[in-house]
Symmetry: C2
Subunit: 155 residues, 2 copies
């Protein structure tokens, strides 16, 4: 832990103005690569559940709070209807969710878990643990990553 901190401080202190232009390139690209890496680590476990990563995110959201509108899902996952509508239709074909248009306001579509979708939660329970093992990362590192992203993203 201490070594990491010393490393941060040294890196920051040693940075010259010249490097400033270069730095943002070297930061944004690794984030983009890491996101793809993470999804590829999920893949073997999610394959067993017949879910893609974005579909898994929808299931996580619904397991936490069943019956949500497309809009609510989109806000929580930062996805628009152009992405969610076809994705949810594929999940409906697999019978993990049902899409029911509201009778009160017919513009609204409610997305709910089917029994099969609810049951899948048990099978998915081991995914986080398996993932952590597969990524082979320490809790400390993950926590640092989580905190720094939270700080940067909250803008």
């Amino acid at each position: 832990m201490h070594n990491i901190i010393v490393c941060y401080i040294c890196t920051v202190k040693l940075m010259q103005m010249k490097d400033l232009l270069h730095l943002s390139e070297q930061v944004c690209f690794p984030v983009y690569v890491l996101a793809k890496e993470i999804i590829s680590h999920y893949k073997p476990f999610l394959d067993g559940l017949d879910l893609t990563y974005p579909q898994y995110l929808v299931m996580l959201t619904l397991w936490e709070n069943d019956k949500q509108t497309v809009n609510e899902l989109g806000e929580k996952l930062t996805l628009d209807s152009g992405t969610l509508t076809p994705l949810l239709k594929r999940m409906e074909v697999k019978e993990f969710v049902s899409r029911i248009r509201s009778s009160k306001d017919e513009r609204v579509v409610h997305v709910s878990l089917t029994d099969k979708g609810k049951l899948l939660k048990e099978k998915a329970a081991c995914v986080p643990g398996q993932l952590m093992e597969s990524m082979n990362v320490s809790i400390e590192d993950l926590t640092i990553l989580k905190n720094i992203i939270t700080k940067i993203s909250k803008k």
Copy 2:
């Protein structure tokens, strides 16, 4: 800086088993969102260059080292030919790159910058600075992020 470090240590110490189980979701989802956020911050600047973010990555790679094979680009950017071939064809139509099949080994395609592609480097020089301003993030935070991702990704 010191506050952040104290915060990490406290967070790690205070974590409960229940939180540990969901740590992967608390990290992986934010990474996925941050990657999308960064690309959306690039968009207004890259629109002015008539480049998408993955196309910009190809240009960065070629500006650093002109004339590379599809394979070399794919390794540096972690993209396969199914992604790169159509992407490079679109960049060829825009006349930023040329694709020339090797005469020595006709399986190999060399990708080079056109004059227009080389000239674009001047116009792109201000992108990193503009992006930093648009994201409104400190160099210290970016450095921490970069270091922790480098540590996690190198596996």
